[in-house]
């Protein structure tokens, strides 16, 4: 072959253009990437492990079924350190990767609030598990909730305590963070509507080492039932133990943290006989039982809401991308909002205009360490 200027130029052009051509050809099979903010370090690191397990189970299932749009789906994680600044940093690191099409946010409402401004700027769908009702009323079109919010948990706690247990004089105990404050507000609103009395409304700071003042206040209030919104397992376990030590035996209906695996293990007998609202309960539906079976195959810890919402979020997100036929954020958003009748581990998802997918809760009971399903309460309003 003669080396002419023309042949050298053609060779150079081909050499420079080839990678771009290859990229374009291979781009059709590049994985769909979903970002996930989760606690790897900090007080909630154990729950981060459960959340990742739930997401990975769903991911494996989707990928074994051929993926989405003929592409495998991949998870990219960042540690939020169980702090608000950590969550913002983690989300910004993920958001800086332009090929990430959607995100899984936090189960902690306070962290979702912290990330919300960046989520608005990024303009891509974010699935989250926090239950503060305000999160889907921020006017932020990119937030989609995969657990029933606390306006429902408050109504269910109130309805169950009053109608089923027959108790009308309530002691509210709640964390002072966004979740605890929002939840207590929802519960007290529901109690006011039915004319029940709130004997005491007691907030506490997270990671309190002692709850003696709170327990003594409950004792002297004359309350005949406790409603609670605890954020962290260790706080709940210390409170439960001191409650029993100081002789308080009134019924207790708590938010979902009262029946998560960590709290049940730490508190032991102190939580026997308590009730909890549980977005996830093993025996609530065939889908929740199936999730428990899949979870049991990879973990020796019982599944709970830390893992069930991420499992459902991946499932709904992948189904929405498939339905949209595209990873374009606006199309995926529209597809998520149009999701109706999707049966997940948490329940049946029927998304409303605000981005809330679930509208009811299960009531479960701690029977000597085993969590037993009692009933499901659904709201259609």
């Amino acid at each position: 072959m003669n080396l002419t200027r023309r042949s050298v130029t053609a060779g150079l052009v081909a050499g420079v253009a080839m990678p771009a051509v290859l990229r374009s050809a291979l781009g059709q099979s590049a994985p769909i990437r979903i970002g996930m903010v989760l606690p790897v370090t900090g007080p909630a690191a154990d729950s981060g492990k459960y959340a990742l397990t739930g997401a990975k189970i769903a991911l494996d299932r989707v990928n074994k079924g051929g993926g989405v749009l003929s592409r495998q789906v991949e998870l990219v994680t960042e540690d939020d350190q169980t702090t608000n600044p950590g969550a913002v940093l983690a989300f910004s690191k993920l958001a800086a990767q332009s090929d990430i099409v959607a995100f899984l946010g936090s189960i902690r409402s306070t962290q979702n609030h912290a990330m919300a401004p960046d989520i608005l700027k990024t303009a891509k769908p974010v699935c989250f598990g926090g239950t503060d009702p305000a999160l889907t009323k921020l006017g932020n079109p990119w937030l989609f909730r995969f657990r029933p919010n606390d306006s429902y948990s408050g109504r269910v706690i109130a309805e169950y305590g009053i109608e089923t247990l027959g108790k009308k004089n309530w002691a509210l105990v709640h964390s002072t963070d966004a979740f605890g404050t929002g939840g207590a507000k929802a519960l007290s609103g529901s109690l006011d509507k039915v004319g029940a009395k709130i004997a005491i409304d007691q907030g506490y700071p997270n990671q309190s080492q002692d709850f003696t003042p709170v327990v003594l206040a409950i004792k002297s209030s004359g309350a005949d039932v406790i409603g609670s919104y605890f954020t962290f397992d260790n706080d709940l376990a210390i409170f439960a133990r001191q409650l029993r030590q100081l002789g308080v035996t009134i019924p207790w209906v708590g938010s979902a943290s009262i029946i998560v695996a960590g709290a049940v293990k730490l508190a032991g007998p102190a939580l026997y006989g308590t009730y909890g609202v549980a977005d996830y309960a093993v025996d609530a539906s065939p889908e929740s039982r199936e999730f428990a079976k899949l979870y049991g195959a990879v973990s020796n810890v019982a599944p709970d809401n830390y893992s069930s919402w991420t499992y459902d979020a991946i499932g709904v997100l992948c189904a929405a991308i498939a339905k949209a036929g595209d990873t374009d954020p606006d199309k995926v958003r529209a597809a998520i909002l149009a999701t109706q009748g999707y049966k997940g581990a948490e329940g049946e998802y029927n998304f409303d205009q605000f981005g809330d997918g679930l509208h009811g809760y299960n009531i479960v009971r701690n029977e000597k360490g085993s969590i037993v399903f009692d009933k499901h309460i659904e709201f259609t309003d």
Partner: protein, 291 residues
């Protein structure tokens, strides 16, 4: 009246834990002029060692306790050699940063080795507590208070009535003069670190059955213990004890009679007031520099 006594008991119990950790701060500060920001992590590591020996391996509680403290003594020695000794001739800032680094390293090492789930450590006694009239006495808190009293008494005897104790005091007061008098300063500092690690370990093992064993348990206690040492008078042993006990009582009664959500704020409000009006603390000496 029952409520007041209950609050007093709980305040003393948690205050005793702050006092034990504060003692560790003070001892290292007196020997090296440096605050050891890994003191809380000593408590955490010891608690995890107890979980390994007493829960995972099922060994007798007393044996697990001794082995855990033995482990802490080794950790204290390694800490001295790795974190303090290479920087001993530098100013205080590199050493402080080194201890902060060690604190993060210890926390994340335990996280990597053991995982993030909080663990349950049984208490020393089978009976969880005693009901005395209107007051419930948690057996673990009773043990914490009793051990604190014993350790303070031991420490007083050791430092005031033994030659080794006097050598340690001499080293903490003036390293150069102590060296001139033939006291092996490096060995004395090593002994101080080992003792502080064991002290922190005792605090962690005592409080673990109450607060559960978690990666964060050390830092939560250490912050309050640090405030206690400042309130008591930084560098003063009696001040560390009184500051710790006072802090436990202040935050417990503050929570009960003023506001539970502001419980943590009371401790730091008292700290700010002391720094503003009596920076030498309850027992410290006022130090001023002339131009």
């Amino acid at each position: 009246m029952g409520s007041v006594l209950q609050l007093l008991f709980t305040g003393l119990g948690i205050g005793a834990v702050y006092a034990l950790v504060a003692l560790g701060f003070v001892l290292i500060f007196r020997a090296t002029n440096v605050v050891n920001f890994a003191q809380g992590e000593f408590s955490m590591v010891a608690a995890y060692l107890m979980v390994v020996f007493a829960v995972d391996l099922g060994w007798p509680y007393w044996l697990s306790f001794l082995l855990s403290l033995g482990g802490m003594a080794i950790l204290g020695a390694i800490f001295n050699l790795g974190v303090y000794y290479p920087l001993r001739n530098r100013s205080f800032l590199p050493v402080i940063i080194s201890t902060i680094g060690a604190s993060i390293f210890l926390a994340n090492t335990v996280l990597a080795l053991y995982g993030p789930q909080p663990q349950v450590l049984p208490g020393w006694f089978d009976a969880p507590g005693i009901q005395l009239g209107q007051v419930y006495l948690d057996s673990q808190y009773l043990l914490i208070i009793a051990v604190t009293i014993l350790l303070v008494a031991f420490q007083y005897w050791f430092f005031e009535h033994t030659l080794l104790g006097k050598k340690l005091q001499a080293t903490s007061q003036d390293k150069e003069m102590a060296a001139l008098l033939g006291i092996p300063v490096a060995t004395m500092i090593m002994i101080t670190f080992v003792y502080s690690a064991v002290l922190g370990g005792i605090a962690g093992i005592l409080v673990a059955p109450v607060l559960f064993v978690s990666i964060q348990m050390g830092s939560t206690i250490a912050l309050k213990a640090f405030a206690a040492t400042i309130i008591g008078g930084f560098g003063d042993v009696a001040g560390a004890i009184v500051g710790g006990l006072a802090l436990g009582i202040i935050e417990t009664f503050g929570a009960a009679y003023i506001s539970v959500p502001f419980k943590d704020a009371f401790a730091f409000l008292v700290l700010i007031l002391f720094l503003a009006f009596r920076p030498q603390g309850l027992f410290g000496e006022r130090v001023a520099e002339k131009a």
